[in-house]
C-alpha cells in the first residue's frame, strides 16, 4: 500500500466517537441488546440469540460473494447496455426526422397538388361525386399529416428526455467506481495492518477450548477421558 493511499485513508485526527457511522436497525438492536447483557442472565441469553441471528457467520468467500467482482460486472454491463440503448434511441430519432422531412416536403406538396387538381375537376364536373370525395379525403389527409408531424415533435422531446435520464447511468457508474476504490483501499489497508513477518504456516494454531469459553459441545467429559486413559493402558 502506498503512503498516499494510507494518507487518504488515515487523514485527520478524528475521534472515534465523532465518526458518523449510521448503524442499521439490526446493528442498533445489537448495541441495545449488548446493554441488556449485563442486567440479567436471561437477558444475556436473549442477547446471545440476537447477536447470533445477526452475525451467525461471516459471508462465505465464494465467487458469488466477490463484491468487487460483482460491482465491476455491474458497471461494465450497465455501460454496455446504456450504449446499446443510446444507439437504439438515436436510430428512432433519425427515422422520425426522416419521416417528418418527407411529410413536410414531398407528401404535403403532393396532397396540395391533388387538392388543386380535384378542385378543378369537381368544378368542371360538379355531378361526379368521386371528385368531391377525393377532394375531401385529400384535405383530411393534410390534417392527418399535421397530426403526424406534431406527434413526431412530441416523440422527439420524449427521446431527448430518455437520453437525459440515461445520463444517470454514467453518474451511477462513477459512484460505484468510487465505492470499489474505497473498498479496495480498505482491503489493502487491512492487509497492511494485519501483515506480519511471521509466516502463517509457522504460527501455533488456536486452542480449541480456552477456560471461560461457553461452547463446550466438543469437549471430552471425565468419563470419556477415563475411557481414553484406560484404552492407553491396555495397549
Amino acid at each position: 500500500m502506498s503512503d498516499e493511499e494510507l494518507q487518504a485513508l488515515l487523514s485527520g485526527d478524528v475521534d472515534l466517537d465523532s465518526i458518523d457511522i449510521e448503524e442499521s436497525p439490526k446493528a442498533k438492536s445489537s448495541t441495545a441488546s449488548e446493554t441488556v447483557k449485563e442486567s440479567s442472565s436471561e437477558g444475556d441469553e436473549h442477547h446471545e440469540e440476537n447477536v447470533r441471528s445477526i452475525v451467525a457467520e461471516p459471508p462465505a468467500a465464494n465467487d458469488d460473494n466477490k463484491v468487487i467482482g460483482t460491482l465491476d460486472d455491474v458497471t461494465k454491463d450497465s455501460e454496455a447496455k446504456a450504449s446499446e440503448i443510446f444507439d437504439s434511441i438515436d436510430r428512432i430519432n433519425e427515422s422520425l426526422g426522416d419521416i417528418e422531412n418527407k411529410i413536410n416536403s414531398d407528401v404535403k406538396s403532393n396532397l396540395e397538388y391533388n387538392i388543386e387538381l380535384f378542385e378543378k375537376l369537381s368544378n368542371k364536373f360538379p355531378k361526379i361525386e368521386a371528385f368531391k370525395t377525393a377532394l375531401d379525403n385529400n384535405k383530411t389527409c393534410i390534417e392527418s399529416m399535421e397530426n403526424i408531424t406534431d406527434n413526431i415533435y412530441v416523440n422527439q422531446d420524449e427521446i431527448m428526455m430518455i437520453m437525459d435520464k440515461m445520463q444517470y447511468q454514467d453518474i451511477h457508474r462513477q459512484k460505484i467506481e468510487r465505492v470499489i476504490n474505497v473498498m479496495r483501499s480498505l482491503a489493502l489497508y487491512m492487509n497492511h495492518l494485519f501483515s506480519s513477518s511471521v509466516d502463517d504456516s509457522k504460527r501455533t494454531s488456536s486452542a480449541n477450548h480456552i477456560e471461560g469459553d461457553k461452547n463446550t459441545e466438543e469437549l471430552v467429559n471425565e468419563d470419556e477421558l477415563e475411557t481414553l486413559i484406560a484404552s492407553f493402558g491396555n495397549k
Partner: protein, 178 residues
C-alpha cells in the same frame, strides 16, 4: 490515535443504496417514456394508413381519367406523383415498424437494471453482514472512552518526531527554573 476520516461519498453502503434507488426511479420514468412513444407510433401508423388509402383512391380516379383523356399529360403527372408518395408511405410503414421493434428492444435491455439492482443489493447485504460480524468480533466490555490510549512511541517503532536527549534536557531545565 489516528482514525479514518469518512466523507459522505465514502459511505459505501449508503452510496450503493442511492444508486439502486435512483436507478430504479429513472428506469421507471424511461419505461413510461417508452410507453408514450409506443402509443404515439400507433397514432402515426393510423395516419399513414389513411394517407395510403387516399393515395390509392386518387390513383384509381386518375387512371380512369387518363383512359378517358389520353392526350392530356396532366393525369399522367398526377398519377406519377401519387405513386411516388405511395412509395414513401411504404417506407414510413417500415420505419415505424422498425421503431416499434427498437422500443421493444430497449424495454428488453432495460430489464438489466433489475438484475443490476439485485446484484448491488446482494453486495450491500454482504457488506452489512460483514460489518455486523466485525463489530461483534471486535466488541469488548470496556468502553472506548475508558481505554488507555496507545503509546505514541514503542521501542522498535520508526517514529521520527521524538524528543532528542538535548530537547529533553532543555525541558528538564525549564521545569527546574520555574
Amino acid at each position: 490515535m489516528r482514525h479514518l476520516e469518512i466523507s459522505n461519498g465514502q459511505k459505501v453502503v449508503e452510496e450503493l443504496d442511492t444508486v439502486t434507488k435512483d436507478s430504479e426511479e429513472k428506469a421507471l420514468e424511461i419505461f413510461d417514456s417508452l410507453d408514450t412513444l409506443g402509443g404515439s407510433f400507433d397514432d402515426i401508423e393510423k395516419g399513414i394508413a389513411k394517407l395510403e388509402a387516399t393515395l390509392n383512391i386518387n390513383i384509381d380516379i386518375l387512371e380512369n381519367m387518363e383512359k378517358k383523356f389520353p392526350e392530356t399529360t396532366l393525369f399522367k403527372i398526377a398519377i406519377s406523383k401519387n405513386r411516388d408518395t405511395l412509395k414513401s408511405v411504404v417506407e414510413f410503414k417500415e420505419t415505424i415498424a422498425n421503431s416499434h421493434d427498437e422500443i421493444l428492444y430497449i424495454t428488453d435491455t432495460m430489464q438489466y437494471q433489475d438484475i443490476h439492482r439485485q446484484k448491488i443489493e446482494r453486495v450491500v447485504n454482504l457488506m452489512r453482514t460483514l460489518a455486523n460480524y466485525m463489530n461483534h468480533l471486535f466488541s469488548g466490555k470496556v468502553e472506548d472512552s475508558k481505554r488507555v490510549s496507545s503509546a505514541r512511541h514503542i521501542e522498535g517503532d520508526s517514529t521520527s518526531d521524538l524528543l532528542s536527549d538535548e530537547d529533553l534536557e532543555k525541558l528538564l531545565e525549564d521545569f527546574g527554573s520555574k
